[in-house]
Symmetry: C2
DNA sequence: CTGAAAGCGCTAACAT
DNA sequence: ATGTTAGCGCTTTCAG
């Protein structure tokens, strides 16, 4: 039937008929059938979200924000975890394309994300979060990893530390690399030795590796852990050794985490606007869905906060943001 | 075309034709169009998952397990957070039904889940996790909350505590209530006073409320926090007061959490098999999807572990499980 | 045993 | 300004 004439306003009708149709719609609670629309060639009112791991607190917060934003706009969210494996990510992408999702949100894994080229060719919008997509130009939302790492390193330097060790996991991950670069820049600027140690999760027992690293750098007086997983590991090891913190060794970390305010001393960290990352990414996809006239590809970099607690050597707490300098909590 | 004759094996064909068709399918990489199948009245190869909050670490772990299990079986997962609001949950359910999801996984909020009655009438399988559905009979997976709480309380009693305060948030939530009951049973069995204090998240400043509660019970020597959110709050407050733990006050909590092993003393907790909960729930839905001949409704209760650390007063660590008594780590 | 056709619900194009 | 129809891809039924 010619019901959709009114619904879509695609054709002019007499006000009287319009009223009647609207009334009927109300009464029956009519909702257009998605499957039929898809069959007709339209996209589903569904967003696809692919992240490495849905159980990771960071990513879960992100996913939650995406889902919420999508829902408010009338979209459902198909979520899937890639496990950090690029082949899984590719497969998931294909399946979601088969399902005619309207847009993609991705925290990409791997180094050649060519499978998204196909998506792009179908004119389905993609937004990558946290890390940019390699080999494919898309909208990207990241955090100012480099600046934040440099600032945090600078803060440690301002405490008088000259031997600061940067503990990282995997240089090939965009965020890790950026943070290492930020740290290195700050150290070089202060004419201090750049010392980076990689503890890859693949290297069997992480804690063993960490132990040997800490053994080998006895002159170091401060540590900068590149993410919260490493921070927790480091913390545990320092506790085991009963190292005086921050007197003997100071610690700063990237990513805020629950335990950071429960342990003594409390841990100084860079805090990322995680939920905002997800929210804005979803908004960007939704905007593209409504209207293609956004200057493409847009690359948005979100600011971070230096949350200064005690582990860096500071007595009282204050808070520094990327945008606005120093704030007091 | 009559392509599906082979795919579904619904009709007998000559081996020769079969080979040809199969070859063609391989070659083109043919995949049946989901939208068309749905339009024909079949269910989508999609599971719907509704939880109160996707950013909660507990629920995120659960969701991740569900998604993974579903993916392995060729199903996608539509995930949504209800925010604990029943009206949102209802709306989400309706939308997912419109999308023809094949099955539901729910961690229900609210007290009259009648909207799932409609789902059930459509013969779409529902499994509720963590909490049973009210007013609707469905497959349910829970954890032995009551037993675990009783055992943990018993453990505190065995340390010689006689004044044990149970700190809970909301009696109307199934899990909380079960745990309170478990605690109460153990106390009564030992002829000790049952003392429960409710700190509802609605009551404005949780920490203020908590302070007054702790002020009012000076004779208490042990605390049992009913979930990890409360545990963290309690922990923070005890730290602020510089209370000697476990000497002056011992602490046990429900739900393991990251910080539990980072703080000193480490926190004794009940650990739930979170990922298993999600995995088995998904498997149950998938089983129903394959075959309706499972004794309905099945109610599965998963065992928990008592992870004995230091905050209860134990020096060394050991571990107790619901099924097998005591184990050493 | 195989081919043809109807029809799921929708919308765009076409006819009135 | 409104009514009719074709066709999206699938499966089931009916004819052959």
């Amino acid at each position: 039937m010619s019901v959709s004439r009114v619904v879509h306003g695609t054709r002019r009708v007499t006000p009287e008929v319009e009223r009647k149709v609207r009334a009927a719609i109300e009464k029956v609670g009519y909702e257009p059938n998605e499957a039929a629309r898809i069959l007709k060639g339209y996209r589903a009112r569904v967003l696809g979200l692919i992240v490495p791991d849905l159980s990771d607190p960071f990513l879960a917060t992100c996913a939650n924000a995406v889902q919420e934003t999508a829902r408010e706009a009338g979209y459902m969210t198909l979520m899937a975890a890639s496990g950090g494996r690029e082949d899984v990510e590719r497969k998931l992408t294909e399946i979601m394309m088969q399902r005619h999702v309207a847009g993609f949100l991705v925290i990409p894994s791997g180094s050649r994300n060519d499978h998204f080229a196909i998506v792009k060719k179908s004119r389905v919008p993609i937004v990558s979060l946290d890390r940019p997509l390699k080999r494919v130009e898309t909208d990207t939302l990241t955090v100012d990893n480099r600046l934040a790492a440099a600032r945090m390193t600078g803060h440690l330097i301002s405490h008088g530390h000259r031997q600061i060790l940067c503990i990282a996991d995997d240089k090939s991950v965009f965020t890790s690399n950026e943070r290492i670069v930020g740290y290195s820049q700050a150290m070089r600027r202060a004419e201090l030795p750049v010392q980076v140690r990689l503890i890859r999760p693949i290297d069997g027992r992480i804690s063993e590796k960490l132990k040997s690293v800490l053994d080998s750098v006895s002159s170091v007086t401060a540590l900068f852990a590149i993410n919260n997983v490493l921070a927790v590991r480091v913390l545990r090891e320092l506790q085991r050794r009963e190292v005086q913190m921050p007197e003997r060794i100071a610690l700063a970390a990237f990513d805020d985490f629950d335990a950071a305010t429960l342990v003594r001393p409390t841990i100084t960290v860079v805090r990322q606007p995680i939920a905002e990352l997800g929210k804005r990414a979803a908004e960007l996809v939704l905007a593209r869905l409504r209207n293609d006239a956004i200057p493409s590809p847009s690359r948005i970099v979100l600011g971070t906060e230096l949350v200064i607690r005690q582990s860096c050597g500071c007595g009282r707490r204050y808070l520094e943001t990327s945008e606005s300098g120093a704030k007091t909590v």
